[in-house]
């Protein structure tokens, strides 16, 4: 084993190998995780974590599965945060500024403190994407927020009570459905399939033996 460091899990001290992440350190200490653990790879946002290094003022925010332990780390996890998720029908809403006003009016209460950006575990410019949402610029809001894992730390820091991840979710769906250009080739292909254009080719394959398909497969042309 390499050197150990002292970490304080919910205030209680444990000596753990220094190469562990906060998540594996908790397990090393004997926790059997149920909450606060999902994909273990930085995509699901289940393991939002707040820590402070002993002797420092600054609070830090991270995903427990993506962060290595440090000496003197005081750790609290945030396995759940009460985000506001508004109900809407994606078929009926339109990508207009009014949508945001109706569903998430609190975005206009942003006081510009930037606590959301400072706390983002994905290092996104959260306040900026909220500004885009305020203006009804959903495309930019979607781009700026794209890597969001919806861990909720930003919202836990927000004095205006904004549920940033849900605002961004709405913006991305509006962008994906209404603002991004349509894919004509996709529509065309669906029509071709429905009209049975490929049916003969497919039935031909379905009726072939694996050996016969092997021949086709091993000699197929590969697009460069």
């Amino acid at each position: 084993m390499n050197e150990t460091v002292n970490v304080y899990l919910f205030g209680k001290k444990y000596a753990v190998p220094s190469e562990l992440t906060i998540m594996t350190a908790m397990e090393y200490a004997g926790y059997k995780l149920i909450r606060g653990c999902g994909c273990r790879n930085g995509f699901c946002g289940a393991c939002a974590t707040i820590y402070r290094i002993e002797g420092q003022r600054e609070l830090k925010f991270c995903l427990a599965c993506q962060t290595q332990v440090q000496e003197g780390m005081y750790v609290a996890t945030l396995p759940f945060f009460p985000l506001v998720k508004q109900i809407y029908d994606i078929e009926k809403i339109t990508p207009s500024q009014q949508v945001m006003m109706q569903l998430y009016p609190e975005v206009y209460k942003c006081i510009g403190c930037n606590a959301c950006t400072k706390s983002c575990t994905q290092k996104l410019n959260v306040m900026q994407y909220i500004a885009y949402a305020q203006r009804g610029d959903f495309k930019k809001c979607a781009e700026e927020s794209f890597d969001c894992v919806m861990c909720g730390v930003c919202s836990s820091r927000c004095p205006a009570g904004i549920s940033h991840p849900q605002v961004a979710m709405l913006a991305r769906r509006l962008n994906g459905k209404y603002l991004a250009p349509e894919s004509q080739h996709l529509e065309d292909r669906i029509e071709e399939i429905n009209n049975g254009k490929f049916e003969e080719m497919l039935q031909d394959l379905m009726n072939k033996t694996p050996e016969e398909i092997k021949e086709i497969y091993n000699n197929r042309e590969i697009e460069q």
């Binding site: 999902g38 994909c39 998720k85 109900i87 919806m150 991305r172 459905k177 080739h185 669906i190 490929f198």
Partner: protein, 531 residues
């Protein structure tokens, strides 16, 4: 971040980069691939499998770890009181990943009352972690028939053809459905989908949302489930399926993961969408899977009388992170190779075409690190280089940040800039190729029990191509939900029973096969362990 020894090897990779970038390594012949797999692929290690002595697959081999669970002891007694169900719905969806969410949405469309139960949260699933993309033959030079051929060949000609037919013919419609729900696919200005190759594809049909494709799909599906106000009972695992006296699926016994309370859910139809098994760590491999990937659905279905297909075939993704150890086993998306990065050994030599299928690529890395002795030593073992700087040499600066930001972030946390330095990789347990046997209606051998997603076997044969799993969770998830919803209108559940559990255990005991562990596993046990 890299050790001195690694840096020495890396210098050779740097030195050869110019030549390696333009070098097009030959593709292996069918015979070469077969020989390579037989010698190095983990599926071919006979001693790692055991033969099932009870159940529908009696006489067939499965990984030892899975056998112990399939023939494990139930978590409940067969005399568990089912007389006053806590939940009563038309369609019970077990699992909150891509397949479960798709099924719930489509079942809801039929007018059925639907409920999702999931042992963690909705979205804590392998779908969320699928990085690379989703296949659909929607370009003019491509067709569902070519897609069929690629997948059938890549799966060693073992797929159930009728399932594969469904997969490829409904693929464009699946992508459109997602797009219409608001999933942000990578497109050009004119709306053309940006598509790339995956290992084993003969046309560029990999659609993506950067390298967050699965996350983008999953969060959108989750949002849609919530908008429809479909009840999601989270932190609640299904621990047994309930049948009625005619042997039809009629619900599940649930376990509240936090309070350990046992609950009864009665349903007219059940959709099993519990996902894969990476957390069983077959053969000691690390895994790219989410925390709950413990094969629960296979256990539940098997005890209820379902049949499994190809449960002996697993996918080891060739490029799991081998270093740094904090991310050991984490997925490095195949898209890295789609974009032009090649696999390079300790001496700086390219040893395989970057777009061979996953099983072949994985076996070639294992060969490089064992017999050929050309691996690079890491803390936990050994690895080979994946030369990421090639991507920007080939496609220009900025490509990595734009197309694979999650990879850049994951390694960036540990001081590795993948734009400038290559990374170390080794195969990681990634996907359960086999699973519950279904027909084209997603019906299992147990009446009124439907299955979709990774828990299913047979769609891909004995190896799956990149981008066909996100596709299958959508195509078959939707079909399962639709069919289960319709069926719920025509069926009635009789008296609920768990007699099948008792009978299965008795049979297993008689055959000397009952293992002494409780199953399903629900979560892996990492408490008190270093890894």
């Amino acid at each position: 971040m890299y050790t001195e020894e690694m840096k020495k090897s890396m210098a050779k990779v740097d030195e050869n980069r110019e030549n390696n970038t333009s070098y097009e390594p030959p593709r292996m012949t069918a015979e070469e691939k077969e020989a390579l797999l037989a010698e190095y692929h983990p599926d071919y290690k006979k001693e790692e499998f055991s033969v099932l002595l009870t159940g529908e697959n009696k006489g067939e081999k499965v990984p030892k770890e899975l056998a112990a669970l399939l023939l494990g002891k139930s978590r409940i007694n067969a005399d568990f009181d089912l007389s006053s169900p806590d939940y009563d719905v038309d369609v019970l969806v077990i699992g909150g990943g891509g397949a479960g969410a798709s099924a719930a949405i489509e079942a809801h469309n039929t007018g059925a009352s639907v409920m999702i139960v999931t042992k963690l949260r909705i979205g804590d699933a392998n779908t969320m972690m699928a990085e690379g993309g989703i296949q659909a033959a929607d370009k003019p030079n491509d067709s569902p028939a070519v897609h069929f051929t690629d997948a059938y060949g890549g799966g060693h000609f073992a797929a159930k053809k009728e399932l594969l037919y469904k997969l490829v013919t409904e693929a464009p419609e699946a992508v459109k459905w997602l797009n219409d729900l608001g999933v942000e696919f990578d497109k050009r200005e004119d709306g053309t989908m940006i598509t790339t190759h995956g290992g084993g594809t003969s046309r560029k049909r990999m659609h993506a949302a950067k390298d967050y494709t699965g996350a983008e799909i999953m969060r959108t599906l989750r949002d849609e489930v919530l908008n429809r106000q479909i009840p999601v009972v989270d932190f609640t695992a299904a621990v047994e399926l309930i049948l009625d006296e005619e042997g039809k699926a009629a619900g599940a016994v649930l376990l509240n993961m936090e309070t350990n309370a046992l609950l009864t859910a009665r349903a007219k139809t059940v959709v099993l969408a519990t996902g894969g098994a990476g957390r069983l760590h077959y053969q000691g491999f690390p895994t790219s899977n989410h925390y709950g990937a413990t094969a629960d659905g296979l256990v539940l279905a098997y005890r209820a009388g379902a049949k499994l297909l190809y449960p002996d075939t697993l996918q080891y993704h060739p490029t799991g992170a081998a270093y740094p150890e904090q991310i050991f086993g984490a997925l490095v998306t195949e898209k890295v190779r789609s974009l032009g990065a090649k696999l390079v050994n300790a001496d700086g030599e390219v040893f395989i075409h970057p777009l061979e299928t996953r099983d072949v690529s994985a076996a070639s890395i294992i060969r490089e690190c064992t017999k050929r002795g050309k691996g690079v030593k890491t803390v936990d073992g050994v690895g080979v280089w994946l030369d990421t700087p090639m991507i920007e040499k080939k496609n220009g600066e900025g490509t990595i940040e734009k197309r694979i930001p999650a990879m850049m972030r994951m390694f960036g946390e540990y001081g590795i800039d993948i734009r400038k330095e290559p990374i170390l990789v080794y195969p990681t347990l990634h996907y359960q190729n086999g699973g519950v046997d279904i027909n084209t209606q997603c019906e299992t051998k147990v009446k009124n029990l439907y299955a979709a997603g990774e828990v299913v076997g047979g769609i891909h044969g004995r190896n799956r191509l990149m981008g066909n799993s996100l596709l299958d969770v959508i195509v078959f998830g939707r079909n399962a939900g639709r069919n289960a919803g319709k069926r719920a209108k025509e069926t009635t559940a009789g008296k609920l029973t768990l007699k099948h559990i008792e009978e299965f255990e008795r049979e297993a005991e008689k055959n000397g096969a009952l293992s002494d562990i409780q199953s399903p596993m629900l979560l892996p046990d990492y408490a008190g362990k270093n890894k």
